[in-house]
């Protein structure tokens, strides 16, 4: 087991190293832009996975909370002059506070009904962002959202201005690593085990004396904090903010990312976030059939690949290795 853990560490370090090297291999600004977005999506999807994958409660409000983070961050930097760096910390926390208020009543209902209530939240958030235009600028949006200010570390000046900025890419990568690490810590802690127990059998967990509502609220709030972080990063990266990316459709996309990658795994949301960012670009040719194709992929994936891509690849990999008797000493684990 220990050896397996160290393997996993090496794999994680390798993934980060590849992620750092990628923009130098693909110098095209378009790819760097997409990869930056994909990394922001990793933060979002890791958050979604906490509720959807670990606890088994599908929230359809993740994009709404991303929007709350984005707007809080933008409005406080632009109206009150708070620094962007401070907002990258404050906006997620304020989003978390909103999630406590929203999560308390909605977590009283189970299963589908929780999903529907969170969907209602997302609609409320969207309507408010659209209608309360004195503050949010409504549909026309807020232009010229500032980027983070320059950093000076050991005499080097790191600027975050300009499209497909490599320093911003690194910032997004650190956020993605931070989000994944936090989720890994939660998963391997007692709290994480309780969450998995709730997913498997909530009544039983309650009968064992676990106050499930606390753990569900914790997962929901942490998930929203990550959404807020993603929203803040997104706003300061894109530089223009309107309610459009924070509608219900986007929440569904985040669910798709988690399902496609493999819900309840740590690497699944990463694979899913990257696929969901690049898939629409690949499906450009489908044009007006894009929504249908997207829905079809979701339906077909749920029927035939209910566990997602990562567990599928893990199984294939194990089979491949099992055919070579030399290295078959590791016991296969069910968790990826």
């Amino acid at each position: 087991m220990k050896q397996l853990m160290s393997h996993r560490w090496m794999l994680s370090v390798a993934v980060v190293a590849v992620a750092l090297a990628l923009p130098h291999l693909f110098k095209s600004p378009y790819y760097i832009h997409l990869m930056t977005l994909a990394l922001i999506w990793v933060v979002l999807a890791q958050g979604q996975n906490l509720t959807q994958g670990f606890v088994g409660y599908v929230s359809i409000a993740q994009a709404g909370f991303m929007g709350i983070g984005a707007y809080i961050s933008t409005l406080l930097t632009m109206k009150l002059g708070v620094s962007v760096w401070a907002m990258l910390v404050i906006a997620p926390l304020l989003t978390g506070v909103m999630a406590i208020v929203a999560g308390y009543p909605s977590l009283r209902v189970k299963g589908h009904y929780f999903s529907i209530v969170t969907l209602a939240y997302n609609m409320v958030i969207f309507i408010v962002l659209m209608t309360f235009s004195a503050l949010t600028g409504g549909e026309a949006g807020i232009p010229d959202v500032p980027r983070p200010s320059e950093l000076t570390i050991g005499g080097h000046v790191f600027s975050f201005e300009g499209r497909s900025n490599l320093n911003f890419y690194a910032l997004a990568l650190s956020a993605a690593v931070l989000a994944t690490t936090c989720c890994a810590f939660v998963l391997h802690s007692r709290v994480g085990r309780v969450m998995l127990a709730i997913r498997q059998n909530e009544d039983l967990a309650e009968a064992m004396g676990v106050v499930t509502s606390r753990y569900k609220l914790f997962a929901f709030v942490m998930s929203s904090i990550l959404a807020g972080l993603a929203g803040s990063l997104y706003a300061h990266y894109i530089g223009f903010l309107n309610p459009e990316p924070f509608g219900v459709d986007q929440s569904l996309n985040i669910i798709l990312a988690v399902i496609l990658g493999g819900s309840g795994t740590l690497s699944g949301p990463i694979v899913g976030a990257v696929s969901v960012t690049f898939l629409p670009e690949l499906l450009r040719f489908a044009d007006s059939f894009r929504l249908i194709t997207y829905g079809l992929i979701l339906v077909v994936a749920t029927i035939f690949l209910p566990k997602g891509l990562v567990p599928l690849m893990a199984t294939l990999w194990r089979r491949l290795r099992a055919s070579q008797p030399m290295v078959a000493e590791h016991k296969p684990t069910s968790k990826a």
Binding site: P105, G111, V117, M123, I127, L291, L298, V299, T302
Partner: protein, 285 residues
């Protein structure tokens, strides 16, 4: 006072449409345990179909609805057979995610077939009656009467026919029903056919009363579920009461508070009900 009665009456018209949507959702949920989120988008498809039948074929409003309903029923049966049945024994989340995928497909299909422009179904019911200072549009009355008769027809079907009996048997206890020789697959198909036909009718009424546009279906599905949560899961009287409560409160909110935030207010009511009575207004504990 008149203003109040006026708003309540308007609320009853839209509330009866909510009831129709919720009724379709509640039979599916009560019998199969599926939160059939694509119901709203299917309803919109039905509304568009009614629009096409009435404009291009020159059929009357009700003849168009009568023609669109069986088409919707067949689509509902196909959806059940192809998308939901394969995941019947999987966790409920899977069925819900499939519902989301179906929603995307149906919304995409509607967009492709009928375009992104707002569509209003024209009806000949344009008179306005004056009952001692309260003005009642004929169209609203027609909507209420249509919805009431459809609800009555479905209730009769469920309570008085042999098929209805087997549907209720499966809802009460699936395993016992199977042991008594009830064909669960057939019941599932019937339930989806009824539910989708009701949805199509609701879509047509929405198209006449308000308008059909992309995204409207999703918001009606959410309203339908809000009604279910309000009324109590899987309860027929709950769906009827919940629909009317939601419609009236929304209409009062629009009339006396703010029309831009009427949806926000109706969702807040739903959340408040959840806080006070999580089992809904008519639900069992």
């Amino acid at each position: 006072m008149n203003e109040l009665l006026q708003q309540i009456l308007n609320g009853l018209a839209i509330g009866s449409v909510y009831t129709l949507v919720a009724l379709g959702l509640t039979v599916v949920f009560g019998i199969l345990g599926i939160a059939h989120f694509a119901h709203g988008s299917l309803a919109m498809f039905g509304g568009y179909l009614t629009f096409v039948f009435s404009t291009s074929m020159g059929l009357s409003f009700f003849a168009s609805i009568a023609l669109a309903m069986p088409v919707g029923a067949v689509m509902g049966m196909l959806i059940e057979r192809l998308a939901y049945r394969p995941v019947r024994d999987a966790p409920h989340i899977n069925a819900f995610i499939i519902a989301l995928g179906l929603t995307m497909m149906l919304e995409g299909g509607n967009l492709l077939l009928f375009g992104a422009d707002q569509v209003i179904i024209q009806t000949p019911y344009q008179q306005v009656f004056d009952f001692g200072g309260i003005f009642v549009a004929q169209l609203r009355l027609v909507v209420i009467v249509t919805a009431v008769s459809l609800v009555a027809a479905v209730t009769w079907l469920l309570l008085k026919t042999k098929t209805g009996k087997s549907v209720r048997a499966v809802a009460q206890n699936r395993h016992a029903a199977v042991l008594m020789g009830v064909n669960v697959n057939f019941v599932s198909s019937v339930v989806f056919a009824i539910s989708s036909a009701l949805g199509v009718a609701a879509g047509a009424l929405i198209g006449a009363l308000l308008a059909l546009a992309p995204g409207v279906g999703e918001s009606f599905a959410v309203k339908g579920f809000a009604v279910l949560i309000l009324g109590g899961l899987g309860s027929l009287p709950g769906a009827i009461l919940g629909g009317l409560v939601l419609g009236v409160s929304e209409s009062l909110a629009a009339g006396f508070l703010s029309s831009a935030y009427k949806d926000v207010i109706s969702f807040l009511i739903m959340i408040l009900v959840l806080l006070v009575m999580p089992q809904g207004l008519m639900g069992k504990k």
